[in-house]
Amino acid sequence: MIPIEFIFRMVEGGGEFIHNSAFDALAINVWLIWILPMIGAMISPLLNKVSKRGRDISPAIFAFVSATLSSTLIPVMLEGDEIHTQISWINSIGIKAGLLADTLSIIISNLVAWISFLIIVYSIGYMKGDRDLARYWFFMLFFIGSMQLIVLSDNFLMLFFGWEGVGLASYALIGFWYRDRSKDYVGRIDHYALAIPQFTSPTHAGMKAFLMTKAGDIFMITGIFLIFMHTGTFEYKPLIEDHTWAENMHTAGLLIPAAVLIFGGAIGKSAQFPLHEWLLEAMTGPTAVSALIHAATMVKAGVYLVARIGPIFFIAADIASAQFFEVVAWVGAITAFMLASQAIVNKEIKKVLAYSTGSQIGYMMLALGIAGLSTSFVEGYSAGIFHLASHAMFKASLFMIAGGLLHVAESRFMDDMGGLKKNMKKSYIAIMAAGLSLAGAPIITSGFWSKDAIFAALLESSYVFAPVLYVMAVLTAVMTSFYTMRMIGMAMFGKKSKHIEELEEHSHHIHEVSALMFIPFSILAAGTIIVGISGPFVEGFIHERLGIFLTNSYGIEVEHEEIKLNWIAVISSLVSFGIGAGLGYIYYIKRAANPEVISKNAFTRGVYKFLENRWYVNSIYYWLFVIGPLFIARIFWKYFENVVVDGINPALEFSMAWWSKIVRYIQSGVVQTYVYAFGIGIIFILIILLSV
C-alpha cells in the first residue's frame, strides 16, 4: 500500500528470488548498484548547504561504492550464473520490479561503474570553481544511477525508467551552462547551411538532444506496447522461456515491426542514423559530461538494448528475425561511414570525438546486426561487446584529455592549439595511447583487436550483402585512423598557433593539467594498451563468457572452438590503418604536405563543403521538423483559431444583438399595432380551426 513497505521489502534481502543460485546473497548489491548513485544525487543539494568540500567529495565516494558493489558480481559472471530478484510493484496489472544480473549486464555494469567513477574524480578537478556544482553532481549521479538501472533491469518498464532518466540527465547536463554565453556554444558562429545555423547554444542543444531521443523513444515504447499486448508482461525472461508470443505476433505480421520499433529507441539514444544529429551538439556540456555520455552512459544504452533484445528475437523466430538484424546492421554501417566522413573535416576537437563516437557505435551495431545474420551468433555478438568495452576506455580517456586541452588553450578549435606536446608531456603520451587505440594501431591497442573481431565476424557471415558492409567498415577504418592522426597532429604537433602565442604573451603559462584530472585519463589510456597487448586473450575470454551466457540464458547453440585469427581481417585492419594513419602523419604530424590543396579543386571543395555541412541532414531536419510544422501551426493560429473559432463569440453576440433589435422593433408600444396583430392572429386561428 505505501512506499515505505516497498523500501523495506527491498532491504530485506532483495525480495523474492526467481532463480536460486549460490549468489542470492548478492541480490541486495544488485539493488544498491543503481540506488546508491540515486541517493548520492539526492544528498548533494543538501550537502551544498552544509559543506562545499563534502559536496564535491561525496559523489566520488558514492560512485566508488557503487562500482565496488558491481565488481562483487564478477564471480557470478565467472560461474556463468545469474541473479534474478523481484519485488511487487504494480500488483493490479501484475507488474513486478525486478533486477537481473547476468553476464551481459555484469560486464556492462562494471564498465559503466568504473569509468563513471574515474570521470567523477576527473570532474572534481575539471569543474572546480563552477558556481552550480550541486546541480552538476545531482545530475551526474542521477545519470549513472539511471544507466545502471537500464543495465540491471529485468523488464522493459524499468528499463524505460532508466532510459528516460538518462535522457533527462543528458538534457540537464548538455544545457548545464544555461546562461548561453557565446563561449559555451559549439560550431563556428558564422556557419550556416541551407539558411540553418550550424552552431548552437547549450540550452538549445539540450532541448535538441531531448526531443530527438524522445522521437526514438516514441517508437520504442510503441514496440514495447506491442510485445506487452501479446505477452501481458514487460519482463524478458518469459519472452525467452515461451515462444508462442512470437509465433502469434509473426502470424499477425507484428513481430518485425515491434522489433524494429524497439530498435528505434536505440537509434535515438545511441545517435545512429537517422537520429544522430543531437550527438554533435551535445558537446556544449562540460567535457566531463561528454566523456560520460560518450563512454559510459547514454549512447551505450542503445547498444545494450540491442544486445539484450537481439538474442530474444533471434531464438524466438530464427528465420523471421533476419530482417530485424539486417536493419540493425545497415543502420550501423551507414552511421559508421557517414559520421566518420564528417569527422575528417571538423575543426573542433570535441566534435571530432563526437562524430567518432557515433561512428564507433555504428561499428557495434553493425557487429550485433551481423551476429543475427550469421550461423554463429556469438561471433558478432562478442565482437560488438568487446568493441563497446574497448571504445568506452579509449573514448573516455580521449574526452578527458580533450577537456584539459580546451582548458589550457581556452578555445574549442584545433586551429587555436598546436604544438602543445612540449608543455603537456603527460597528456601527450596519454592522447597517443588512446588515439592510437581509436585509430586501430596494430597489435598493441585494444581498438585494433576489437575492430579486427568485427571485421572477422563480417567475413564469416553468410549474409548476401556482407561484402558491401565489409567494404564500408574498412573505408570507415581508413577514415578513422586519418581523422585521429589529424586531431592529434593539429592539437599537439607543429608550431604553436597565434592564439597560443597570444595567451603566452599575456603571461598565461601553458601547463600540464592537475593530478586529479591527469590520473583518471592516464589509467584508462594505460588500460587500452594493456588490453591491447593481451588482446587475443581478452577477446577469447569475452567470447567464451558470452558464449556460455547465450547458451545458458537464451539457449543459443554455440560451438566451442579456439579463436583463430582471420588473416583477411587482420590484413585489412593493417592496410586501412596504414593508409589512414600514413596520410594523417604526412599532412598533420610531419606537415610534409599542405592539406589546403583541396581548396584548389572544385570537386574536392564541393566534397569538403558537403561534409562540413553534415551532408545537409541537420538543415533538412530543421526545415522538415521545426520550421515546417511551426509554419503550419502559425497558419492555423492566424486563420483558424483567431478568425474562425474565436469568431464564434462575437458572431453569437452580434446575431443576438441583431435579433433583439428586430424583436424590439415589433414591441413598439403602440396599441393600434398590437390590436392589428391580435386581429390577424385571431383570423388565422379561425381559418385553421374551420378548415379542419
Binding site: S92, L157, G232
Partner: protein, 521 residues
C-alpha cells in the same frame, strides 16, 4: 455513523460565511489559516474513508431520489486530487492574492486621480480584508462544488453541483481576474452553462426514461432504444464543452489565462477534468453499449484536440495562455484514454487526471510566481530565471515532466497505460482507423514535449532579461505547496499502485471481463 462525506461536503459550504467574517475582522493571515484548516479537515474526511477503497453515504432527499455521496474506484482519485489541490492552494493564495488586490487597487487609484504623478497610497487594511474574505468564501464554495459533483450518485444532485462549481468560479474570475475579466467571466459562464443545460436535457431524459434519477437504479433499468442516441449526444456534447475538446474549446484559453492564478490552478487541472469524470460515470457506467459505439468518434476528437491544443500552445507568447492551451491538449489525452474501451486505457485516463492535476497545478503556480516576482507573464520579457528562482525552476521542471509523461513522474504512468489500452483495442478490433489515430496521438506526445521544453527554455535559460535582475523566489507560502505537489508527483510516479489498485477493479467491473483477456491473465 461518522458522516465523513457529509462533513467533507457541507463544512466548507456552511463555514464559508465564517471565513469571510474571520478574514474581515481578524486579518488575512487568520483567514488564510482558518480556510486552510477547514480544507485540511475536509480533505482528511475524504482520505479516511478512501483507504477502504469503497464508501457510500445516502440520505433521504426528495421525490427525485436519494442524496448519495459515493467514494468508489472511480471517484476516489478525483475527490482526493480536488481537495488536495484546493487545500494547498489556500496557502499559495495568500501572498498571491494580496499582491493581486494591491495591484488592482493601485490601478483603480491611478485612474481616479487627476494627476498620475501623485504617489499612490497603500491599500487600506479593511479593503484588503474585505476582498480577501470574499475570495476565501467563494473559494470554499467552489472547492466544495467540484467535490460534490464527483461524489454525487443522483443525476439531479450531480447537475446541481455541476452548476454550483460554476457560479463561484464565475465570480472569482469576474472579481479578481486580469484583462477584460468581466467580459471573459461572462463568456466562461455562458459556454459552460449552455453545455451544462444540454447535459441536463440528456440527464432528465435518461432519468424519466429509466424511471429514477438514482444512478444505481438507472444501471439496472432498461432505457428505451429510441431515446438512447439522443441521451448520448446530449451528454457527450454537454461534457465535451466542459472538457474543452476542439471545437468547443474557445472559452478555455480566455478563462484560464485571465483567472487569478490560484483559481487557474484549480480550474485547469481540477475542474475541466471533471468533464472526463462525468463521461466515465454517466456514459461508460450507465450506458456501456453506447459508449462502445461512440468510441471511434471520441478518439478522433481526442486526437485532434491533442495535436491542435499542442500546436496552439506552441504559438503563445503568454505563459498562462500557453498553459491553457496545454490543458486543452491534455484533456485530449484524457478523452483518448477514455475512448480506448479497455481497462488499462481507462485507468490511464483516470491517472492522467491525477498527473495533470499535480503537473499543471505546478506549472500554473510557476506562472503565478513569475507574475509576482518577475512582474510579467510574457515569454519575450522572461529569460535566465533559473539562477534567480531556483526552487521555482526545479518544481516547474518536475511539473513539465509530469505533463510530458517522463518517468519518474506520474505522467508517465498515466500515459503508458492509456496508450497501451488504445493500441490494444485498435489491434484487437483490427481497425486501421484506430491504429492511424494511435500513431498520430503518439506524435502529439512529441508536440507536448516541444512546447513545454521550449517554454522552460524561454523562461529559465539564456541571458537574464532586463528588469529581472532582482527577481527571487517567493515566500514559503508559495513554495511549500509547490514542493508538496512536486514530491507527490514523483511518489505517485514511482508507486502508482496506491491508485491503480482501486481504479482497476472498478474498470474491470464496468467493462466486464473479456475486453482485456490478454493483460488480465
Amino acid at each position: 455513523m461518522v458522516y465523513y462525506l457529509l462533513q467533507a461536503v457541507f463544512i466548507p459550504l456552511l463555514l464559508s460565511p465564517l471565513a469571510y467574517y474571520i478574514t474581515k475582522k481578524g486579518g488575512v493571515t487568520a483567514g488564510t489559516w482558518f480556510t486552510f484548516g477547514i480544507m485540511l479537515y475536509s480533505t482528511i474526511m475524504i482520505l479516511l474513508p478512501s483507504l477502504n477503497g469503497y464508501y457510500y453515504e445516502k440520505y433521504n432527499w426528495s421525490q427525485l431520489g436519494e442524496f448519495g455521496l459515493l467514494l468508489d474506484g472511480l471517484s476516489i482519485p478525483f475527490a482526493i486530487i480536488i481537495y488536495l489541490l484546493s487545500t494547498v492552494l489556500v496557502l499559495y493564495s495568500k501572498p498571491y492574492m494580496i499582491h493581486k488586490i494591491e495591484e488592482e487597487y493601485h490601478e483603480e487609484q491611478k485612474s481616479i486621480q487627476a494627476t498620475p504623478l501623485k504617489i499612490v497610497s497603500n491599500i487600506p487594511t479593511h479593503v484588503m480584508n474585505h476582498q480577501m474574505g470574499i475570495y476565501y468564501a467563494l473559494y470554499m464554495v467552489f472547492a466544495m462544488g467540484m467535490l460534490t459533483t464527483v461524489l454525487a450518485t443522483n443525476l439531479i444532485e450531480f447537475y446541481v453541483f455541476f452548476e454550483v462549481m460554476l457560479i463561484p468560479s464565475f465570480f472569482l474570475v469576474a472579481f479578481y481576474g486580469y484583462g477584460a475579466r468581466r467580459r471573459i467571466s461572462l463568456m466562461y459562464l455562458f459556454w459552460t452553462h449552455v453545455g451544462a443545460v444540454i447535459l441536463l436535457l440528456g440527464l432528465i431524459t435518461m432519468g424519466l426514461s429509466a424511471g429514477s434519477f438514482d444512478m444505481q437504479n438507472i444501471k439496472e433499468s432498461n432505457i428505451s432504444v429510441e431515446l438512447l442516441p439522443f441521451i448520448a449526444v446530449a451528454i457527450i456534447v454537454g461534457l465535451l464543452v466542459k472538457l474543452a475538446i476542439v471545437p468547443f474549446h474557445i472559452w478555455l484559453p480566455y478563462a484560464h489565462a485571465e483567472a487569478p492564478t490560484p483559481i487557474s490552478a484549480l480550474l485547469s487541472p481540477a475542474m475541466i477534468g471533471i468533464g472526463g469524470y462525468a463521461l466515465m460515470r454517466l456514459l461508460l457506467t450507465l450506458l456501456p453499449s453506447t459508449y462502445e459505439s461512440t468510441s471511434l468518434w471520441l478518439s478522433i476528437g481526442a486526437m485532434v484536440t491533442m495535436i491542435y491544443g499542442g500546436a496552439m500552445a506552441l504559438m503563445q507568447s503568454d505563459v498562462k495562455r500557453m498553459l491553457a492551451y496545454s490543458s486543452i491538449s491534455q484533456m485530449g489525452y484524457m478523452l483518448f484514454g477514455f475512448a480506448s474501451i479497455s481497462v488499462i486505457g481507462l485507468t490511464g485516463s483516470v491517472l492522467l487526471y491525477v498527473s495533470h492535476g499535480t503537473g499543471k497545478a505546478l506549472l500554473f503556480m510557476m506562472a503565478g510566481m513569475l507574475i509576482m516576482q518577475a512582474h510579467t507573464r510574457s515569454f519575450p520579457k522572461l529569460g535566465g530565471l533559473a539562477g534567480k528562482l531556483p526552487m521555482t525552476a526545479v518544481c516547474s521542471v518536475i511539473g513539465a515532466l509530469a505533463i510530458m509523461g517522463i518517468p519518474p513522474t506520474n505522467g508517465f504512468m498515466s500515459e503508458w497505460m492509456l496508450f497501451v489500452g488504445a493500441l490494444n483495442t485498435a489491434i484487437d478490433e483490427g481497425s486501421t482507423a484506430k491504429i492511424v489515430i494511435f500513431a498520430l496521438a503518439m506524435i502529439a506526445t512529441a508536440i507536448t514535449a516541444s512546447y513545454l521544453l521550449w517554454s522552460i527554455k524561454r523562461i529559465f535559460y539564456g541571458r537574464v532579461n532586463e528588469g529581472l535582475e532582482h527577481a527571487k523566489d517567493g515566500s514559503y507560502y508559495m513554495l511549500a505547496p509547490m514542493f508538496f505537489l512536486a514530491i507527490l508527483t514523483i511518489i505517485i510516479g514511482i508507486y502508482p499502485e496506491m491508485l491503480t489498485q482501486i481504479i482497476i477493479p472498478y474498470m474491470q467491473n464496468v467493462l466486464g471481463e473479456g475486453v482485456i483477456e490478454v493483460l488480465n491473465k
